[in-house]
């Protein structure tokens, strides 16, 4: 046990001891009324409840190290509150009664100390320490002064203990009365100052600090007010009596205020502990934050509903998607219910589940803060994924549209300009065959025929460069053959898939090879092409490239959802076919 823990246990044990002695003392039959507690059953209950509550609150707060001196002040307050029971122990020994007389006045400084040290305090450290020390000092001086000089036996107003006081050195009733009057006046002044400070504290602290601290500050201020009233009344009317108003009322007010203070401290400590636990749980859950997509699994497992789905609402796209970004359509019918999950007034997700499993209210309660965090997490991920998916698709569409446009130009050239040139060629040949006699004309026509044929060849190459029709019509194998036939360098085609692939995949794969071939020098050592289809991914490898692929090629492969990489002359493209 550490020293701190030991002193805590010791002080709390002392409080319990004081309590037990007080109960024992109060149970002793007495001829005269020596305590308020003995005045009535209600007064008895009020007295012990206030004492017990303070000591219990102190014991509870002692278990929470972070709550500062609150615990000790509660226990000390309880001891000071219970001290009059010792004083009024009519048949008891003189020592405890005298000790009780010394302890009882310390209730006021303890309460002031508690108020100044309460959560949400505003006084700075040195100022607070000086004030607290001053209040304790004044009280101690008065209490010791009284103990040294007062002889209750000679006190005309004595009621709780009229036997002698064991600490007395001199018997000076006049000085004792003066000291008591000074103590009471000081208590009134200190009490009023303390209540003002408490009001100032409550008014000027931040809302959060106020929310945390008011449950201690407010009852402490009330208890001090009650003590101020008590001291003020006693100052004016020294003939105290537990049977007479306003003393009885003031006693009840004091007990009630102290009980409230004990409840306030207890509440504060419990709230604090709950916040701490909640925070630790959150931290734990954050540490175990589930990965994308696991929320649905977690929820369906914890609720025992295999059909449970979590769908996220993408406000921009105006549709629901699952955690992986696939579009879903959450269904509602008489068996299935949909629970909307709302964040900051906006619906962010829906949980679709069996109606019989639980009602919506319960689900919302069971989806704890951490789960909401996971929902936010997943939803943001989903939004990003959906956005990327949209970008990828639009990129693909742009590329496809461009390909289609080129394909159309190739067709138009083939069906238009090329056909027209063919018919020109036909006419020229007819004319040439009919003008055999005219050598000059025939020669000119032959030159025209040759020129037209060259134009046809050039046009055909242009059309083929714009779009390789053979690729769409006969696939990668044939297109690779044609590319190899025409290339300026040797190309060895080692493997090509036998199956037809989606047009965008074939076009991209073709482009990887044709661009590399186009960039290769005429005299280069030759290229080797490997195209392998594995797991729905076409891998195109071109070995022997002179130059790094263009950015355009990387973009094209990227648009098809693939990756292009270069490694010392080997260009490798992985293109998904799914």
């Amino acid at each position: 046990m550490t020293r701190g823990a030991f002193s805590r246990v010791l002080l709390v044990a002392t409080g319990v001891f004081v309590m037990v002695v007080a109960v024992v003392a109060a149970r002793q039959p007495s001829a005269v009324l020596t305590t308020y507690a003995a005045g009535s059953a209600a007064a008895n209950i009020a007295f012990f409840i206030a004492g017990l509550a303070l000591i219990a609150a102190g014991a509870l707060a002692a278990g929470d190290r972070a709550s500062g001196p609150l615990w000790s002040l509660c226990v000390l307050g309880g001891i000071a509150w219970l001290a009059p029971a010792w004083v009024g122990w009519d048949t008891g020994p003189a020592l405890p009664r005298s000790v009780g007389m010394v302890l009882a006045p310390f209730l006021v400084p303890v309460l002031v100390h508690l108020l100044l040290a309460a959560p949400g305090r505003r006084l700075s450290g040195p100022l607070r320490r000086t004030a607290v020390a001053g209040v304790y000092g004044i009280t101690a001086a008065a209490s010791i002064g009284l103990a040294l000089t007062r002889n209750p036996f000679l006190d005309p107003n004595c009621w709780s203990n009229c036997a002698d006081n064991v600490f007395r050195l001199v018997s000076d009733p006049g000085l004792a009365r003066l000291i008591e009057a000074i103590r009471l006046s000081a208590s009134v002044g200190i009490g009023i100052l303390a209540v003002l400070v408490a009001t100032w504290q409550l008014l000027t602290s931040t809302p959060v600090a106020r929310a945390v601290g008011w449950m201690v500050t407010a009852p402490a201020a009330l208890a001090i007010t009650a003590e101020v009233c008590y001291a003020a009344v006693l100052r004016g009317d020294p003939a105290e009596s537990p049977e007479r108003n306003p003393f009885v009322w003031i006693f009840f007010a004091r007990s009630a205020a102290l009980t409230a203070l004990a409840v306030g401290v207890t509440w504060y400590v419990v709230q604090r502990r709950r916040r701490r636990t909640a925070f630790l749980t959150l931290v734990n859950e954050l540490e175990m934050s589930p990965g994308i997509g696991s929320l649905q699994a977690l929820l369906s497992r914890s609720l025992g509903d295999n059909s449970l789905t979590v769908a996220y609402w993408l406000s921009r796209a105006g549709r629901y998607v699952d955690a992986l970004g696939h579009a879903v359509n959450p269904e509602v019918d008489q068996d299935r219910a949909m629970t909307a999950i709302v964040r900051s007034g906006t619906q962010v997700a829906v949980v679709s589940h069996e109606r019989a499993i639980l009602d919506d209210q319960t689900l919302r309660q069971r989806i704890g803060p951490a789960a909401l965090l996971a929902i936010d997490n997943e939803r943001l991920g989903v939004e990003l994924t959906a956005h990327l998916q949209e970008l990828r698709l639009s990129r693909m569409r742009i590329v496809t549209a461009a390909d289609e446009a080129r394909r159309q130009i190739e067709r138009d050239l083939h069906d238009g300009a090329q056909q027209r040139l063919l018919s020109v060629l036909y006419e020229l040949r007819l004319a040439s065959s009919e003008s055999q006699e005219d050598a000059h004309l025939s020669g000119a026509l032959d030159a025209l025929i040759e020129g037209t044929q060259k134009s046809l060849v050039e046009l055909r190459e242009l059309a083929q460069g714009i779009f390789p029709a053979i690729l769409d019509e006969a696939g990668l194998g044939a297109a690779m053959g044609t590319l190899a036939d025409q290339a300026g360098c040797a190309i060895e085609i080692r493997s090509v898939p036998h199956v037809r692939l989606p047009a965008p995949v074939e076009r991209t794969a073709y482009l990887v090879v044709s661009e590399t071939v186009g960039a290769a020098h005429a005299g280069s050592g030759g290229l080797t092409v490997n195209m392998d289809l594995c797991d729905e991914t076409l891998t195109v490898c071109v070995d022997g490239a002179d130059k790094a692929p263009s950015e355009y090629l990387a973009d094209r492969v990227g648009a098809a959802g693939g990756v292009l990489s270069v490694n010392s002359g080997a260009i490798r493209a992985e293109i998904p076919c799914g």
């Binding site: 036909y426 040949r429 083929q464 053959g481 036939d485 040797a490």
Partner: protein
């Protein structure tokens, strides 16, 4: 010869019909798509058919498919496919099943009436016709350690003519050498390239084309 012509382009079709008529051949039917051609061929049984490779409805390889169907149903009819594409793979696809009596010619060549009549006569005579431009392209293909470099000039020339579908006799006439010399060139060249010669069969055209095309391709 009795000839049927199928081409969706009226200009080309009329041109071919005109050239054939002037040359004294009978054009028994014309069609602008493959289906019409097939029913026409079934009814009229011409000696030879001229088909454009690109016809409705998809304008891709309808002509090629029609040619193969005609060839399968009526092997005695010669089929000449016209194309604007210098695509060896089309030519190979056309002749790979039945090389006898089929031909692949570039469109721009058919208006040279001599070439057209020659090609039609050859397919009707169950020979194979491959456009010289396609053969030239295959020959021109760049290769690493090109085996064609080891051939003699005359050997390469003979190999090219074999690839065009010429018979030894025709090659001899073209090169002004004896048929026996042609035979010896062919045998030597084939041996050098590791091909099997079968002078009586038109399969040797395919063998040469496939060799030129696929040399270096290990699979696919």
């Amino acid at each position: 010869m009795r000839i049927a012509v199928a081409d969706d382009s009226m200009l080309t079709r009329e041109g071919i019909v005109h050239l054939l008529s002037v040359a004294g051949h009978e054009v028994v039917g014309q069609a602008d798509d493959a289906d019409r051609l097939l029913s026409l061929v079934q009814a009229l049984r011409p000696d030879a058919v001229v088909i454009d490779i690109r016809m409705p409805p998809t304008y891709t390889d309808e002509g090629l498919v029609a040619a193969q169907r005609i060839h399968a149903a009526f092997p005695e009819i010669g089929v000449l496919v016209l194309s604007q594409y210098v695509e060896p793979s089309y030519a190979i696809r056309l002749i790979e099943d039945h090389p006898e009596g089929v031909g692949y010619l570039l469109k721009e060549r058919v208006f040279d009436v001599a070439i057209l009549i020659d090609a039609l006569r050859r397919v009707a005579d169950r020979e194979t016709v491959v456009d010289p431009t396609i053969v030239a392209r295959l020959f021109g293909r760049r290769r690493v350690a090109d085996p064609l470099d080891t051939l003699s000039e005359r050997g390469a020339e003979v190999l090219g003519l074999v690839a065009e579908g010429r018979s030894n006799q025709a090659i001899a006439a073209r090169l002004h050498i004896t048929e026996r010399t042609v035979e010896s060139h062919v045998t030597k060249t084939f041996l050098q390239l590791g091909l099997t010669d079968d002078p009586g069969s038109h399969r040797r055209v395919l063998a040469v084309l496939a060799y030129l095309r696929h040399q270096g391709i290990t699979s696919g």
